[in-house]
Subunit: 480 residues, 2 copies
Amino acid sequence: MAEIEENHSREDVRQHLREVQALLSRHRLVEGLVHRQAMPRHDLVENLVHKQHEAALRGKLDSLHAADIAYILEALPVEDRLFVWDLVKAERDGEILLEVSDAVRETLIEAMDSSELVAAAEQLDADELADLAPDLPQEVIDGVFKTLSVEEREQLRAAMSYPEDSVGALMDFEMVTVREDVTLEVVLRYLRRFEELPDHTDQLFVVDRAEHLKGVLPLNRLLVTDPETEVGAVMDPGRATLQPHHEAQAAASAFERYDLVSTPVVDDDNRLIGRVTVDAVVDFIRSRSEEERLSQAGLKEEEDIFAPMWDSVRNRWSWLAINLVTAFIASRVIGAFESSIEKLVALAALMPIVAGIGGNSGNQTIIMIVRAIALGQVDPRSARKLYRKELGVALINGLMWGGLLGLIAWWLYRSIPLGLVMTAAMTLNLLLAATVGVTIPLYRFRHGRDPAVGSSVMITAVTDSGGFLIFLGLATLFLV
Amino acid sequence: MAEIEENHSREDVRQHLREVQALLSRHRLVEGLVHRQAMPRHDLVENLVHKQHEAALRGKLDSLHAADIAYILEALPVEDRLFVWDLVKAERDGEILLEVSDAVRETLIEAMDSSELVAAAEQLDADELADLAPDLPQEVIDGVFKTLSVEEREQLRAAMSYPEDSVGALMDFEMVTVREDVTLEVVLRYLRRFEELPDHTDQLFVVDRAEHLKGVLPLNRLLVTDPETEVGAVMDPGRATLQPHHEAQAAASAFERYDLVSTPVVDDDNRLIGRVTVDAVVDFIRSRSEEERLSQAGLKEEEDIFAPMWDSVRNRWSWLAINLVTAFIASRVIGAFESSIEKLVALAALMPIVAGIGGNSGNQTIIMIVRAIALGQVDPRSARKLYRKELGVALINGLMWGGLLGLIAWWLYRSIPLGLVMTAAMTLNLLLAATVGVTIPLYRFRHGRDPAVGSSVMITAVTDSGGFLIFLGLATLFLV
C-alpha cells in the first residue's frame, strides 16, 4: 500500500495517465523542435530540457503502483508505450508484465532482449512465472530455470503443469505453516521472526511432519485467544480445501459463497501444496466475464486498441465467416420461394420482421437457460418444466406481438389473410425459438460442453432460416 | 468455516441439493399415500414416518452454510421451496434472505408474516438490513427500527441513504479502531478482549479522538513487529481510502488493482465511517457482470426459473417491443423498393445477408470500443485513431467477404452487375457499421451515459435498415 499515491478511485488513475501524457507530449515537442531545426541531437540545452522531462516522467512512474503503470501502458499508442516502458525501473518489469493484458504484453516482450527478460522473470515467484511462461521465448525460460532453487524449480514445474482453468493455475506457494502441538505464544514468537508475512495471509496452515493438512488457524482467532492455548485446540479442522485439478470456477464459487480470503490446496493424500487467495480469484472472475463478453460477439481475444489493423481483422475473422454461412443458408431458403415473392412482393418486406423477433426471443431464452445451468438449477426433472415455461412465454408473446404485426400487415396491405399468416408465422417462429433455445444449451450441457459457447449463433441461424421458411411456406400455401 | 460440511467445490453443493431432493420426494411419497388411502392425517404411524423425514431434512439444513441453503431454495420449485423454508431455523432466516436472488427472495418474503420478518431482520447488521430493506414491507422496517440502538439506527439511516451503485452501499460498520500513541503490546491485549474479530479484518484502523483516520495497521505487520513499538511508528498512512459517494465500480477497480482485502471509508472531513471488504466487492463484480449479460438480451432482471409465466413475459416484454419497432422500420425500407424487388426477385434473397453481416461486424466494433472506454483508454486524441482503425478493418472485411459474396451472387444468378452491387453494398454497410459502432458508444460516453446500454439494439437497427437501403438502392440505380 505504501506504493500507492493518493486516493484509490479510478479518476486518480486517469489523472496519472493524463500527467504521463502531458510529460510525453512536452518531451515530443522538444524532440520535434530538435528535428525541425536540424540541430544536432547532442545540443547541450535541448538535451538538458530533454533529460528534465525524462527525469520527471521517471519519477512519476516510480511513484506509481505496478497495476497503474500497466494501465498507462495499455492506454498509450505503441511508440509512446515503448518509450515509457524503457523508463520503468528494470526490477519492476516482471510485476508489470504480469498486470498488462495479453495483447499489450506481447508488444512489450517483443521490445526486450533475452537478458532483460531473464532479469525481469527472476523477480517473480514460481506461480507468477508460470503465468508469464507461455509468452516467453524458450531460451528465457531455460535461463530463469537455472537461477532457481530446487524447491522453486519443483514449484514452477508443478504450476506450469496445471491447465489454465484449474485451481492449480490460481495457486501460489506462499503459505505459513505451524504445528498442532505448540502454543499460540510460540506461534506469535515464530511470526515475529518474519520480515513480513505473505500478502493475504488471513490464516496459518496447521500441518504435521509429513505436510498433511490438519487444520487452519485464522489470524483473527490467534489474536483473540489466550496465548497459552495450543494450536490444536483452536484451529478449524480445515475442511474447506481445494485440489489443484479442481476447476477454477469451483474455487471462484467457493470464495464467493463462503466469503473466503485464502484457502489451502492439498493433493490426493491431503498434503498441503499451496493456497489460493482472493486476489487471484477476483482476477479470474473478471477475466472470465471479460472472455464471455468478447466471445459473445465472436472476438477471440481482447485487442490492443493500438495494435495493427491486420491483428484485428484476424481476431474478428472466423465469426464473420460463420455468420456468412448461416446467412447464406437463410438466403437459399428465401431463394426457394422466389416465385411466391414475385407474385406477392409484400412478403419480402415482412419476412425480416418474423426472422428478427424470433432471434431476439430465442436469445432471451438461451440466456435464461445457460444461467440456470451455470447455477446448477437444471436437472432431468426440471427440463420438462423449462420447456413448458418457455413455450408458454413464447405462445403469449407470439399471439400478442404476432397479433399486433398481423394488424399492421393488414393495415399496410389491406389483406386479412396476409395478416393472419403473419400472426401465425410469428407465433410458430417464437415457439421454434423457445424449443431450440432450451434444447441447444441442455444438449451441450448433457454432453459435457460449455452450454454458452456458440449458442447465440446457432439460435440466430435457426430462427432466421426457420422464420423465412415458416412465413414464406405459410404464404405459399394460403396466399399465392 | 466450522459451518461448512466437507469440501467446497461446486459438486458438493449439487450433492447437498440432491440429498434434499431425495428427502423431499420421500416426504411427498408418504403424503401421497396418506391422501390416496383417504386415511386421517393424524394417523399415528404415517405421522411418525413423516416426522422422521422432516427431522432428517431439518438436520441436513442445519448442517449447511447459509449460502448453500440459498442455492438449494433457488433450485427448488415454489412448493418445495416454501416447505424447505419452513424447516429452516428461524434465526437463520435473515442471513439466507440476504443470499438468495431478488426473485426468489420475493417468494420467500411473501410466505412470511410480519412478526417472522421482524425476527429475521433483527438478526442482521445495519448494512445487511439496508440491503434487505427495499424488499420488506414498511411495517416490518418500522418494527425492526424500534429494536435498534441509537448508533445502529444512525448506521441504518446512513446505509439506506446511499444509492445502489455507490461505495456507501457496499460499506459495513464493523471496524476495529486503535489509537496512534499506544504500543502494539496494548493493541494485542485489547484484541484479546474480543470474543472474535469481524470477518475480513486484515487491518485495524488508526483514528484520533474525533474519529479522524490517521492510518491503518495491517494485522500482518502487527504480528511481525516488536510489541514495544508504537502504533504510529508502523502504521501505513492510510491513503487508500474511499468515500461513500464514490462509485462502487471505482471501489471494485481499486480492490482488483491493488489486491485489497478491506479498505476504510471516510467522510469529507476524513472521519472514519465504515469499511468495504473484498467479499462485498466480489458480490458486486459478480452481480454487475450478471446484469450486463442479462441486459444485453434485454432482460430486465434475473428470473426465478420456477416463477409464473406471466412474470417472464413482462421481464422480456420491452426488448421485443423495441426490436419490433426497429424491424418495422427496416421492413418499410424494403417496402419502398418493392417495385425493384418485383423486377429482380434475387434481391429479396440476397438482402438479409448484407444486413446480417453488417450487424455482426458492428457489434464487434461496439464491444471493443465499450471495453476501451471502460478501461479508460479513450480520450479525445485517440478517438480519431479508433475511427481510422475500425474503418480500416471494415474496409478489409468488406472487400474480402463482400468479394466472396459477390462471387456467390454471380454464380447463383449469372449476373456480373449483381455480384458487383453485392460487393459494394457489403463494403459500404460494413463501413457504416464501423462508423456507427464507434460513434454510438463515444457519443454516450461524452454525454455521461453508460456507453454499453442499448448500443447493440441501435447498431442492429442501423445496419439492418442501412443495409437494405444501400443494397436495394444500389440495385435500383444500376440493375433495374
